[in-house]
């Protein structure tokens, strides 16, 4: 009963991943809001008087135990409770066109002086574009390199690809960004050095995406290609490959029919985990290229101490990471008959 067991697997995984998400978001909440005075101060800004901070702490009930505050925050997020910051009696002038109570209410960003929901989603879309393009490069590139290298371990092509892959994973994203800008925009003037996604400076939008995508793709491709190579070598050494050869199949048939699918099982999981790496990578890449995305926003929020935005951004980053884990479980289930029992 394969369908039933997939459902069972999904139910189990969703439950466990949901718990992970809950625990992780609580961790972030603890980290950012541990000191109540901090929250009030960040909300009011640097020039607030101590009395104002005390007053806000009182009216927001920031002295309550952290678990209680976390539950309240969750209530606001799910639209069960009104956002206390929007209470006009506080005099903060926080207003949200959606009202004080809606699903997905992450609160008010003190950095951008706007509801988090206004700031978040457009930047997330920009980053999704960047990530999708990067993945579109990483997957074929790393598979091709890894398979080619793994076919003849120790051969010239393998040595070449392996050393290149190691070199690719040895260049931090920020260093790669600086190098690519120095070459392609400073020296050659082929591509823009910044990617604000506006056409004011005369660069078409597509040209602004080339360097950021390259930075994201190069580091990860090296990493994934090495995984694919190892998997390929391991599979080619398995007895069932010998069985296939001794059946009289040609090398081509052996590799295409018997090796590839088995060699994809391990890298597939790795590839899905790359999305988690990409989220981290975009923080750096977006900073290098002044790209108006989610990663740079998270960094700005962290440096500024915009707790509502940090909380929202990490929750979303975590959700994406956890969703890809789920996808990788499903993919693994489809790829590997053993996982199906």
């Amino acid at each position: 009963m394969p369908a039933g067991s997939l459902l069972a697997l999904l139910a189990r995984r969703v439950a466990s991943l949901g718990l992970t998400l809950l625990a992780a978001s609580f961790l972030v909440f603890m980290l950012t809001q541990f000191s109540p005075a901090n929250v009030a101060r960040e909300t009011l800004g640097a020039y607030a008087l101590p009395e104002q901070v005390r007053a806000l702490t009182r009216s927001l009930r920031l002295d309550d135990p952290i678990l209680l505050r976390y539950a309240r925050w969750g209530g606001v997020l799910l639209g069960l409770k009104a956002d206390p910051l929007q209470d006009p009696r506080l005099g903060l002038h926080f207003t949200d066109p959606r009202g004080a109570r809606y699903f997905g209410n992450f609160g008010y960003s003190t950095l951008f002086r706007a509801p988090v929901a206004d700031v978040l989603w457009s930047r997330l879309a920009n980053t999704a574009l960047l990530g999708a393009l990067a993945l579109a490069v990483i997957v074929p590139l790393s598979l091709a390199l890894g398979i080619l290298a793994g076919l003849r371990p120790g051969g010239l092509l393998d040595r070449l690809i392996s050393v290149s892959a190691i070199a690719m994973t040895s260049v931090p994203e920020f260093a790669l960004g600086v190098i690519l800008v120095a070459i392609f925009s400073v020296a050659l003037r082929w591509l823009p050095g910044t990617s604000p996604l506006t056409t004011g400076a005369g660069w078409p939008l597509a040209s602004q995406l080339v360097l950021p995508v390259a930075v994201l793709a190069i580091y990860d491709s090296g990493y994934v290609a090495r995984m694919v190579r190892v998997a390929m070598i391991e599979v080619l050494g398995q007895p069932y490959i010998r069985t296939a050869t001794l059946k009289g199949l040609s090398r081509r048939q052996v590799i295409l029919r018997h090796a590839l699918r088995n060699a994809m099982i391990m890298p597939f999981t790795v590839l899905m985990l790359q999305i988690n790496w990409l989220i981290g990578g975009v923080v750096v890449t977006e900073l290098v290229f002044a790209y108006p995305g989610f990663g740079r926003m998270l960094l700005q929020a962290s440096l500024f101490g915009d707790v509502a935005l940090i909380e929202a951004a990490t929750l979303i980053a975590l959700s994406i990471a956890i969703l890809t884990q789920l996808l990788s479980d499903i993919g693994y289930w489809l790829l590997d008959p053993k996982a199906r029992g």
């Binding site: 010998r242 069985t243 059946k247 009289g248 199949l249 590997d336 053993k338």
Partner: protein, 593 residues
């Protein structure tokens, strides 16, 4: 008649760090069409190399540096890639060792089989599917159509081996190469596979080269046998001649090491010492993959001090579970296990006294994992002396040397690392380690089954020596009934977690016997020429998570009575000479055999 295969002075080398290793210095063999040839030798003697050389697929580092292999008039050593592909799988097919890893894990059985006719006979998919299904039926796989859609891991070991045989025979090859065709299979399953191979080779008149470490296996399959040692064929003869008059010392040693039914070695006639171990009603279950597996149920056993008691059964019968419960590595669920007067059943190591722990020690099955690769082999013995042995005036080093001498190893070996030792030496170290605390009871859990035949015999010898010289009670756990009946005083036969039959070793060989005991005996390959026992078991052990309600053996029993066996647990019947048989069939009827 021209030879089907003629190998002349075949020389194979493997590249290694220093200089090439000569695997086959100059091997020659002629095989007529339809002839079967068996090659026996211990691991590393070059027999697998020969099979792979015939198929020109030696793997990394292997090179054929001389000689000729002429098959059907064509020299394979000069054949081009296309010609080789036609031969491989088409004219010469290999049944690989360990089918579990030789079948592609992510491709259905059906597609793997269909590849063969599509490749060699150029037939379409529908025709290939039909032939594949027929091939599965030919190897008597239950439900061939269903099996086509399944994956290798969903089949049992015996079924995987049948699939591998079907795959090899699909293109009707002229030569079948069998690489250890029964290794890893339970004895009753192995016997059925050997029957199948014999029948198929008679049907198709396929020539055959079978290699094995087990002389009995090749003798069962092949008319002519070669004995191989270090790359050389030291003796070659017809099977019957070889058994009757072996010429080479190595062949003589192999034959001597081969346990034979009824050929019981002079038994110790152990004085009936007091009861050391008395187990009754012992049960143990595990949770595995969402189900409960009852590894032991209502298990009973008695061992007198100084005796050798054997537990026999196939994999999963519960014999190792009992060993682990007895040693205290796991706790029993219910039941009593009185050892020297004290009940140990519910107590694991942590709850046992130091003396109780030292009193029961164990030698494990796998020589490769029995020693810590990070420590010298003397280290665990020294630790055992320190933690378990009674204080003695002698220095530890002297006591270590004495223990090593007892297991017939030089004292200097204590400083070696496990990887420098052979399998047999490792098991000797494990025996020395277990004996350090002077145990009253030594458990040998399949302690010799991973060893080559000649080594096996010497280690068994050592255990019997310890039994005699130190008065140690030995619990010898094995799947090999022929070996057990030759050395043990008492034997317990297990199936599916339950005792089928128990009693004095000699009692096993003659009726009345439990039908399972009879089947186990029938599975022991007789010497060539001797009449072949006809009892064969159907199928394979049932899923331990869903055992039958009645007799555990009922689904495979050749003397199955019907609903009674399926639904009601059998009564234990006591024979006149002290044997106990758990069966519904009355003793007089069982005595008819």
């Amino acid at each position: 008649m021209t030879a089907l295969l003629a190998i002349r002075d075949l020389r194979v080398e493997y590249a290694s760090a220093r200089r090439p290793v000569l695997a086959l210095p100059g091997f020659s063999l002629d095989l007529a069409p339809g002839e079967s040839f068996g090659l026996v030798g211990e691991s590393g003697c070059g027999k697998s190399t020969l099979l792979l050389a015939i198929l020109r697929h030696l793997g990394p580092g292997g090179r054929i540096t001389g000689g000729a292999i002429v098959f059907e008039g064509q020299d394979l050593l000069t054949a081009d890639a296309a010609a080789l592909r036609r031969v491989r799988g088409g004219r010469i097919a290999l049944v690989p060792q360990e089918p579990a890893s030789a079948l592609n894990p992510s491709m259905t059985i059906g597609r793997q089989l269909m590849e063969v006719p599509m490749q060699h006979q150029r037939v379409g998919r529908a025709e290939a599917r039909e032939r594949a299904e027929q091939a599965l039926a030919d190897v008597r796989l239950p439900d061939p159509r269903g099996a086509m859609a399944r994956f290798a891991h969903q089949l049992s070991g015996g079924q995987q081996q049948r699939v591998a045989i079907a795959m090899a025979l699909l293109a009707r090859p002229a030569l079948l190469l069998l690489d250890e065709p029964t290794s890893g299979l339970d004895v009753t399953v192995a016997a059925a596979v050997l029957d199948l191979l014999t029948a198929l080779s008679e049907t198709y008149r396929t020539a055959m080269i079978a290699i094995s470490h087990d002389l009995a296996v090749v003798a069962r399959l092949c008319a002519r046998i070669g004995v191989m040692q270090a790359g050389e064929m030291v003796e070659e003869a017809l099977a019957a001649t070889l058994f009757a008059a072996p010429r080479h010392v190595y062949t003589q040693a192999l034959l001597a090491a081969m346990p034979r039914l009824g050929g019981a070695a002079p038994r110790t006639e152990a004085p009936p010492g007091e009861t050391l171990l008395d187990v009754a009603g012992l049960s143990k279950s595990y949770t595995v993959g969402g189900g409960r597996v009852r590894a032991l149920e209502d298990f009973a056993l008695r061992a007198r001090r100084g005796a050798m008691v054997a537990i026999v059964g196939e994999s999963g019968c519960g014999k190792s579970s009992f060993a682990r419960v007895l040693a205290g590595l796991q706790a029993a669920d219910t039941g009593a296990m009185r050892f020297a007067g004290r009940d140990l059943a519910g107590r694991t190591l942590a709850a046992r006294s130091p003396r109780e722990v030292a009193a029961i020690q164990m030698v494990f099955q796998n020589p490769e994992t029995t020693l810590n690769p990070a420590h010298t082999v003397g280290q665990p013995i020294l630790r055992a002396l320190r933690k378990l042995a009674a204080p003695a005036p002698l220095p530890l080093a002297a006591r270590l040397a004495a223990l090593l001498e007892m297991v017939r190893l030089p004292a200097a070996i204590g400083r070696a690392l496990p990887r420098q030792l052979s399998g047999g030496q490792k098991q000797r170290i494990a025996i020395a380690r277990a004996c350090a605390g002077a145990p009253d009871l030594l458990i040998a859990d399949e302690a010799v089954s991973a060893l080559d035949a000649s080594v096996q015999a010497t280690v068994v010898d050592l255990l019997r020596h310890i039994q005699r010289a130190r008065g140690t009670t030995i619990l010898f756990i094995s799947h090999d009934l022929a070996l057990v009946q030759a050395i043990a005083d008492e034997v317990v036969v297990m199936y599916g977690g339950r005792v089928m039959q128990s009693g004095p070793a000699a009692r096993l060989l003659a009726p009345p016997q439990h039908p399972y005991t009879a089947a186990l005996l029938a599975a022991v390959p007789p010497p060539p020429g001797a009449p072949r026992a006809a009892i064969r078991l159907r199928g394979e052990p049932s899923d331990p998570r869903h055992p039958p309600a009645g007799c555990r053996f009922a689904p495979r029993c050749p003397r199955h009575l019907g609903k009674l066996c399926d639904d009601t647990p059998p009564p234990v019947q006591v024979t006149a000479d002290g044997g106990r048989i758990a069966c519904h069939i009355p003793l007089p009827e069982l005595a008819l055999g």
